[in-house]
Symmetry: C3
Subunit: 134 residues, 3 copies
């Protein structure tokens, strides 16, 4: 079962907490035990699981990535978003989360972020659910 979220991003670089929207999609699917696959079909946006309680953690991660691959660096790709591709490569385009008793088995402090590195744009996140109990 492949569904997708539409996410409107607001700035060039942004970590957007999509945990609640994903949790809702999982609950609607009524899966007891299984796995959620997350896939971002873009090359300048990725997916990340990290702390969503203190928003400064997401900001630190963005600052870190900007220092690592500065927007104004020297790159061969001439569209002005070479850094966005690199940042996406670092965080990755896919992730998995176990589902237990119908809910995401995330840790207490974990949230799921869409990572926008070349926004603002309209982005998609593919959600696929595998049901163990089928």
């Amino acid at each position: 079962m492949l569904t997708q979220l539409e996410v409107a991003t607001k700035s060039r670089a942004q970590l957007i907490d999509i945990s609640e929207r994903i949790e809702q999609a999982v609950q609607e699917a009524k899966i007891g035990e299984g796995v959620l696959y997350l896939f971002v079909p873009h090359t300048t946006a990725g997916i990340l699981i990290n702390e969503n309680y203190d928003p400064s953690v997401a900001q630190d991660i963005l600052d870190f990535l900007e220092k690592l691959a500065p927007r104004q660096g020297k790159y061969k790709h001439t569209e002005g978003n070479a850094d966005s591709h690199i940042k996406t490569a670092v965080v990755g385009s896919s992730a998995i989360v176990p589902i237990q008793k119908g809910k995401l088995a995330l840790g207490t402090w974990q949230g799921i972020f869409l990572c926008e590195f070349d926004g603002p744009r309209q982005r998609k996140v593919f959600l696929q659910l595998m049901d163990e109990g089928r």
Copy 2:
């Protein structure tokens, strides 16, 4: 089938080889062909697959990450572990490993490491197994 390993880490930053414990869990599950999903439900610890033969490889990876995101850097998150969140973002929170003939299809030199970045602590690793032959 979701099971979990408990891992007691011994220092602030440490790569702990959990390959044998995971292999044992897979063999006990008696799955012929399938996939193992690994998920770390923490925001300052991650999961990594890399060489476990020469322990200096794990040390080089730790040294690299410490240089990349130093503990004593400038961060907005004020709990003293902003670097641990960043290091976790770089290595990631989930991984998959194919299972073939009842065993992990790891390469000759590959091991599975829990990556502790804010220890010592008691950590969990979720293991989920999907059996193709069901």
Copy 3:
């Protein structure tokens, strides 16, 4: 169903677009909806999904990784490929891609790359397919 691709790499560091070979394997498997798991059983080669339209993006990613973990850096591992292990840790050893209507659900600009960091060598990529419709 576990299959494998053999990939002959040509230089020490190289991103090799294996999207078409993977797409072909998926189409041969005749799966309608499902998930493709990708796993690289090596410790100095990884897997990455990013833009494959402008080849300068792959070159920028390689240049970035070389700057991040230079071949001639100071490492404890003495085989001359410590940087290759580190680069592999950054990009990762596994990925997933959804399959929809028998095809990889990749975005318009996405390609799948084997990342060689210690070549030239003969490399393997494991492909595992999970069929939702079973």
